[in-house]
Symmetry: C2
Amino acid sequence: MNGAESLVRSLLANGVDVCFTNPGTSEMHFVAALDHVPGMRCVLGLFEGVVTGAADGYYRMLGKPASTLLHLGPGLGNGIANLHNAKKAFSGVVNIVGDHATYHLAYNAPLTSDIEGLARPVSHWVKTSPDAKQIGADGALAVQAARQAPGQIATLILPADTAWNEAAEIAGALEPDPRKTVDPDVIENAAKAIRAAKNPLLLVGGDALRAHNLEMAGRIAAKTGAKIMSEGFNARLDRGAGRVQINRIPYVVELAQETLAPYDKVIMIGAKPPVAFFAYPDKPSTLYPESCEMVALSSVDEDITRSLEDLADALDARGTEPAGIAQPGRAELPTGGQINPEGIAKVISALLPENAIVVDESVTTGRQFFPTTAGAPPHIWMNNRGGSIGFGLPVAIGAAVACPDQKVIALEGDGSAMYTIQSLWTMARENLDITIMVFANRSYNILRGELTNVGVQNPGPRAVDMLTLDRPDIGWVDMARSMGVEAQKVSDLGALGRAFDDGLAHKGPYLIELEM
Amino acid sequence: MNGAESLVRSLLANGVDVCFTNPGTSEMHFVAALDHVPGMRCVLGLFEGVVTGAADGYYRMLGKPASTLLHLGPGLGNGIANLHNAKKAFSGVVNIVGDHATYHLAYNAPLTSDIEGLARPVSHWVKTSPDAKQIGADGALAVQAARQAPGQIATLILPADTAWNEAAEIAGALEPDPRKTVDPDVIENAAKAIRAAKNPLLLVGGDALRAHNLEMAGRIAAKTGAKIMSEGFNARLDRGAGRVQINRIPYVVELAQETLAPYDKVIMIGAKPPVAFFAYPDKPSTLYPESCEMVALSSVDEDITRSLEDLADALDARGTEPAGIAQPGRAELPTGGQINPEGIAKVISALLPENAIVVDESVTTGRQFFPTTAGAPPHIWMNNRGGSIGFGLPVAIGAAVACPDQKVIALEGDGSAMYTIQSLWTMARENLDITIMVFANRSYNILRGELTNVGVQNPGPRAVDMLTLDRPDIGWVDMARSMGVEAQKVSDLGALGRAFDDGLAHKGPYLIELEM
C-alpha cells in the first residue's frame, strides 16, 4: 500500500467520503488509489474555485467535511477565494494539495511555489506531510482539525514521493475537542441584561440559526419582549412556515443603523458585534448605537444549543410559546408583469418546494426576498459570509451532492456567476438537482451604489464602463447549453413562473436567465 | 487630489498606462479617478485570472509593466495562478490590491484577510501603503520594482482611506537598476569551455530568445560547431523564416535525456540547468548527463545581449554567417483528412500571418508544432513557464492590447481553456484581434500519460473518469457565442484550414473548435 492509498483509506476511516477534485500530475497516485479503494465519491471540477466552494456547501448541509484535491500552489491559489468564504462561514474542509516530490523541490521546476505560504491565510491548520509512513496519520489529523467546532479549514500538502512510497498503516478516527459549554455566570449575566433592557435584541448566528435553536430564541423573545435578528450573512438559516421568522441586518450602513437604533442591549448568540461590510468616508465601522451594550452569550465554537436552553431556563421561558412563528402562506404566482425584485420574490414564494436549499448570491436583486418568502414551506437559506463573489454555484454543487433528495435553488447575480461559471459543467456531469436563476442586470449593480457611497457623484463614462457587463451581453442560455445544462431566458414574471416550474419539475440542473 | 488620483497620476508618470481591472467597492476611488485622469487605458475582466494573465502577456510584448486592479485578498487569490506564471516568465506586473480602510481592519469584516501573506509567494515586492500622502511615492516604487530586470511582480496594497484621503504630490519616474554586465572572466571561461568541448550546446533563455541575440548565438554556433537549444518553455521566442531556428528541450523526461545526451558542455545564456517538469519514481530530476559540465555565461537578469556579443568576440565569431537560419517555406495547406497534430501544424504553417504572436497552451497536441512551422513568416511564440494551466487566453488578451497591429493566435487545450474561459468576454468587449484554436480532445490528455509515468498501469474507470472532459462534451461554439465571440466547429483538416483563414481575415476574436 502506497502513501496515497493509505491517505484515502485514512480519510475514509475518519468519515470523509467525498472528494471534490481538480487533479494534476503530482496527484496521480491519489487518483489511482480511488480505483483500489471503494467508498470515496469523487466529483470533478474544471476549476479549483468550483472544488473548494463545493466543499463549503457540502459542510453547510451535512456538518462534516469533504476533501478537495488540488494541484500544487497555483491549484490552491485558484481555490483561495472560496476557501476564504468557507472559512468565514465556519465550514470544515480538508484540502489535499499535491506537491513535487520532496527531493525535486530543490530544482525549482516550473510549478514550484510556497504552498504553505499560500495556504496559511485561508487555513486554520497547515502541514506538509514528510513521508509515506506519516501521511495516513497526517490525514487523520487534518480531518480532526477540519471537524473542530465550529468547522475549520485544514490543508494537508502531499509531496509526490509521499504519495508513491510504501506507507505504514491506516490511521483510525481522531475526535475533535467537544464544544465548550457556556459558563453559568455568562448565562446569568445575559439573563440579567435582557431583564434590565428596555429593548433587548437576540442577535443570532452559527448554530443558533437552526430551527430548534430559533424556536428556543422565540420562546425567550415571547417571554421577555426581545426581538430576534441575524447577522447580515448566514451560512445556513432554517426558515419558512412554522419556523421562527427573523430578518437579517441590512447591508446598507444607514439602513443597518436605523434597524439597530432601537436596541439598548444586544445578546450575541453565535454572533459578533455587527460591523459595516465596507468602510465609507464619514460613516461608522460599527452598526449599533454607541449607547448600546453588547452582551456575549455564546460564541460560534461553543455549545450554542445548550446556551439557549440554559438562557431560556434562567428566564423561565422554556414553556412559553415561541414568538414570531411564520404562518404558512405562499404569495400568489404572478401571471405577468415586469421582472423586478418583488415579483421574483413572489415567484419563489409561490413555487418553492419543501426542504429546498436556497443558495443566495443575488447581491443587489435579492435584498428584499425575505418578507415575501417567509411563509413558504420550510427551507434553508444560505448567504455568502466571506464576501468574495463566485461562491453561489459551487456551494449549490456541494449542497446538492450532500442532499440529493432536496432541491437546490441558486439565485445568482450575473457578475457573480461568471467567476465560477465552470460549475455548470459539474452540475451537468453529476446531474445535480439545481435550478438556477441568473439575474441578468448586465452590471456590477452593487458597485454603482458603492460609487455614490464612497463619495463619488456623477461618475463619468470610463468609471461606469468598469461596472457594466453589457458590450457584449452574456448569453446565459448559450452559456448553459455549452456545458450541458438546459436553460431558457425569460423577460416577464409570467414566463419566469412557468420557467421556474419547469426547472423544479426537471430532475437535474436547469438555468433561467432573467432579463432585467 | 485624493490618494487614488495621485496613484493613477504617479503610475502614468512612471510609464504605466494600462490597467487590467476587476474592481470592487474598496477600489471605487481608483475607478472614479480614471474619469479625472486622462491616459490610463482600462480593460475589464470578469475574473481576476484574466486580469493578471493579461498583464503577463502585455509585458512579454512591450517589456514594460501594466497594472492590475484587484479586490482585496480573494480578488488577489483569483489572480495568483497567473501571477505565478508571470513570475516564472519574468514578466513585470504592478498589482494594485484594494483593502479595507486602515481603521476598519480591526473589525474583521467579511472580506478582511491577510493580503500581504497571499501576495508574498507570488511577488518580489509587497507593500501596504500607509496613507494618502505616501501612495503616489509607493506607486512609483512599485513600478520601479516591476521594471527591475528581468521583470518582477510588485504588489501594492491600497487601503480605502489611503485612496480617498487628501494626497501629496505626484511621484516622478524612478529608474530601476541597470542590468549587470557579465564579467570578462566569465566570458573567457565560457569561450574556453566551448573550445574544449567535443559537443557544446548553447542553452538559451530570456532575452537570448530575441532575434538579434539568436543571430549572435547562430554566429557562435557556425564558428564553433555548437548547437543551440532553448529551455522547455519560453516566455517569448522569435522564430520563423530568416531567423535562427532552435528547438526546445522536450517535456517527456526520456526524450529530454536523449536530446541532451550528446553534449559534454552546456553554456547557459539566460537559462538554468534543465530539470524535469515533475519528478517520477525512478527517473532523475535533472535532464542532462552527469558527465556534462554546466557553464553559466549570463543569467536572466544580466545583460544577455552584451554577453553574447562578448562571447562572439572572444571566439572571433562576429563576422561568421549564423548557422541554422530557417529558410522561408510554408507547408502546403491540407485540403482534408483527419485532424491530428501534424495536420494542425501544417495549417498553421500554411496560413500564419507575418508578425503573428502565437500563445501556445496546446499542451499535448502542440508538442510537435515546431519543425513544420519553422519556415513560416517571422513570428513570436509564447509558452507557459509556470505550468499553471489557464494562462493562454489571458496572455493572448495582454499581447493583443499591447500590439493591436499584430494578429494573436491562441492554441488552447480544452481543459486549459476552461480555467480562464471568461477571457472570451474581454476579447469581445475590446474587439481584440485573436484567433483561437481549441483542441477539443475531451480530456486532460496529458494526465493519461502521467498516470503511466508515475507508475500506474491500467487505471480503472474511476481514475480515468477524473481525467476525461466528456459527459458532457463542452460546446465551444455555444460557449464562444455566449460571450460575444464568433466561432465555428471543424472536424477535418480542410475545414480547419478554411476556418483558420476566416478567423485570420476577421478583425476581432474568433474561435475554432477542433473536434479531435
